[in-house]
């Protein structure tokens, strides 16, 4: 169905050789960021001389949310005046960002980020950055890691919130226009030529092959997770799995939909100036659920693990309208003991009864 639709809309051919021109065009208005090779891995970084855009990247450790809610962000500066009182000064808005080559899982992640920030309390700093961003989405042809399960979480074919969405056919990319801004930018760097019939055939073929390349790990749709997780609330599965947890917090930090932060202050020795900043943290980071006096309201690893998983699979869809897991597989791939949210989902929702894990 989606395959047909792709053809119905504006899809243009984009010679690979024009990528440089696209980057140049975007650099006029944006800070241009994309996957860049760093040693054996890829990371999101500014694209430019010496930092080549690597559209063939499998995935990155940190998700693109880092450009909308940075790992450490200055909230404001305090400056002490002559009267001894401090005044607060917010940082100036930075350049909007253009993200090139964002996969379906991370496009979904950005939509989840928006759904959260448009709920009970809108963080206009974050939504403002999302509003101003320019995003080039990019189709995946094969799972990036053995841990990915984007097809199960229905994020493999996500295109929004991209302005342009690309299928990489080698010398040519086929680019779909999703927003007026996308069309404007594309027009500046290409002649808006329609895809040839050969290219259309090639795309259909690649999409068919791709469907086979992404195995199905879960035998139920993601919207069944909420009920399954509710039923498994007291399952032994949580304790059994949490025994392997280091409480290192990596699963939170690499997640494209985690939003929690801590707030801290730093200051100069003479007290003339200080900063208040926020920094990523998460429900698996020691100290997160501590209250005054040192009491922890979610003290055990099992409770903490369950909280993370249930938040993604139940609380987030209930409150923000979108499942909080995109199936990107990062939290599994980067867990030192390979605790797998996919496996937990499979066990709580798997064929028939929950609780099989005990």
């Amino acid at each position: 169905m989606r395959r047909q639709k792709a053809m119905d809309q504006e899809v243009y051919r984009f010679p690979r050789s024009r990528l440089g021109a696209l980057i140049e065009r975007l650099a006029r208005d944006y800070r241009v960021v994309g996957p860049v090779r760093r040693g054996a891995e890829h990371a999101w970084a500014d694209v430019g001389p010496g930092a080549e855009l690597a559209l063939d990247y499998p995935t990155t450790m940190l998700p693109p949310r880092q450009f909308f809610a940075p790992p450490r962000e200055l909230l404001f500066r305090f400056r002490r005046g002559a009267d001894g009182r401090y005044t607060c000064h917010e940082p100036e808005a930075e350049r909007p960002v253009a993200l090139l080559g964002v996969h379906g899982c991370d496009l979904t992640g950005l939509r989840v980020l928006r759904s959260f920030h448009e709920s009970s309390c809108r963080d206009r700093v974050v939504t403002g950055r999302l509003d101003r961003a320019f995003i080039l989405g990019l189709a995946c042809w094969a799972p990036c890691t053995a841990e990915a399960f984007c097809r199960d979480m229905a994020s493999l074919e996500s295109e929004a919130p991209a302005a342009l969405y690309a299928w990489d056919l080698g010398d040519v990319l086929l680019v779909k226009v999703l927003t007026a801004r996308g069309r404007e930018v594309l027009q500046d760097v290409t002649a808006l030529e329609a895809a040839t019939s050969d290219e259309q055939v090639a795309l259909r073929h690649r999409l068919r092959v791709r469907h086979e390349a992404f195995p199905s790990h879960l035998r139920f749709p993601p919207d069944r997770l909420a009920v399954a997780l509710e039923a498994a609330a007291d399952d032994l599965l949580w304790e059994a799995t949490a025994d392997r947890c280091l409480s290192c917090g990596r699963c939170n930090l690499v997640c494209p939909t985690c939003t929690c932060f801590d707030v801290g202050d730093e200051g100069t020795l003479d007290g003339a100036a200080a900063v208040r900043f926020r920094r990523w943290t998460g429900c698996q980071v020691p100290g997160f659920s501590k209250v005054a006096g040192g009491r922890d309201f979610r003290p055990t690893r099992a409770q903490q693990l369950r909280y993370r998983v249930v938040r993604k699979g139940k609380y987030m869809p209930e409150r923000y309208g979108m499942v909080g897991c995109t199936g990107c597989g990062r939290c599994i791939a980067h867990c030192p003991t390979h605790i797998s949210i996919r496996e937990i989902f499979r066990q709580v929702g798997g064929g028939g009864g929950a609780g099989a894990a005990a």
Partner: protein, 279 residues
């Protein structure tokens, strides 16, 4: 427009009144917003901070114009760590940095015509004091009012003058105090706060009860009050959480997907029962 800024306003400390070795009662000038903007309700909190040191949530313990001068409010701050070490040292004329109020605004009409039972353990009296003040200010709107206060020792009792003033109102408000332990000279009761419910003369049916104190107190008082026949939707608890933002973003106060800084920290037991890991 939703509040998103985390920028605090400088607020002058008008009075700093030590309650004991570690608790200080502060009378603070309300943030210099348009006057109407700073109108906390009982149970709400503010974020108070010092530049370069940090920020933490504190329940408002007296609201502007409710036993305080208009344009002022009160906080009770216990010295427990990095920030409160310095906050408790502030003197009149010095500045603390405040934003808020935050948290749920409870519709007081729902309590009208009912009897009120207030049970405070230790620091729990700080937020509940705003409830009692509100109730006494509108005394005719309620039937019987019972205030039960527990503390570790007589020295630890907060707002002693005010407790005495409430007591002096006789049938207006039934005040009973109890301490865990006391040296000679303490004429009052010794024991845990739940024992004050043993021969409870007030009404339970149709009453609203407000609880705040350490976690152990919650468990025992909850059980007793429910056993006495109190409706769980009329049992109100203030939960302690370490909010970092106060505006539903940072996630630290989350319970079962609910952001306590917005939906609480005041909850009825009926609401709390839906939340895992809440109490």
């Amino acid at each position: 427009m939703p509040q998103v800024s985390m920028i605090p306003a400088p607020c002058r400390v008008l009075e700093a009144l030590p309650q004991n070795a570690h608790d200080v009662r502060f009378v603070v000038e309300a943030p210099p917003l348009p006057a109407a903007a700073f109108a906390p309700e009982p149970g709400q909190f503010v974020m108070a901070s010092l530049p370069g040191i940090g920020e933490a949530p504190f329940c408002v313990s007296a609201l502007p114009g409710e036993g305080t001068a208009p344009g002022t409010f009160e906080l009770l701050i216990r010295r427990t760590g990095r920030l409160t070490n310095l906050l408790t040292r502030l003197r009149p004329g010095e500045t603390m940095y405040v934003r808020g109020p935050y948290g749920r605004r409870v519709d007081w009409e729902r309590f009208e015509g009912a009897s009120l039972i207030v049970m405070a353990g230790g620091l729990g009296l700080a937020p509940l004091r705003a409830f009692v003040r509100r109730a006494l200010l509108r005394r005719d709107a309620f039937r019987r009012i019972d205030v039960m206060v527990g503390a570790r020792s007589p020295d630890e009792l907060l707002f002693k003058d005010e407790l005495a003033a409430w007591k002096a109102r006789r049938d207006d408000v039934h005040v009973r105090l109890i301490v865990d332990a006391a040296r000679e000279g303490w004429g009052g009761r010794i024991g845990v706060i739940t024992t004050l419910l043993d021969n409870f003369e007030g009404e339970v049916d149709g009453s609203h009860a407000f609880l705040c104190g350490p976690p152990v107190m919650y468990r025992h008082c909850l059980k007793r009050l429910l056993a006495l026949g109190l409706y769980e939707g009329h049992l109100w608890l203030t939960l302690e959480r370490r909010m970092r933002c106060g505006i539903g973003l940072c996630g630290n106060c989350q319970v079962s997907g609910h952001y306590l800084c917005q939906e609480g920290p005041l909850f009825s037991y009926r609401e709390l029962r839906q939340l895992r890991e809440a109490v």
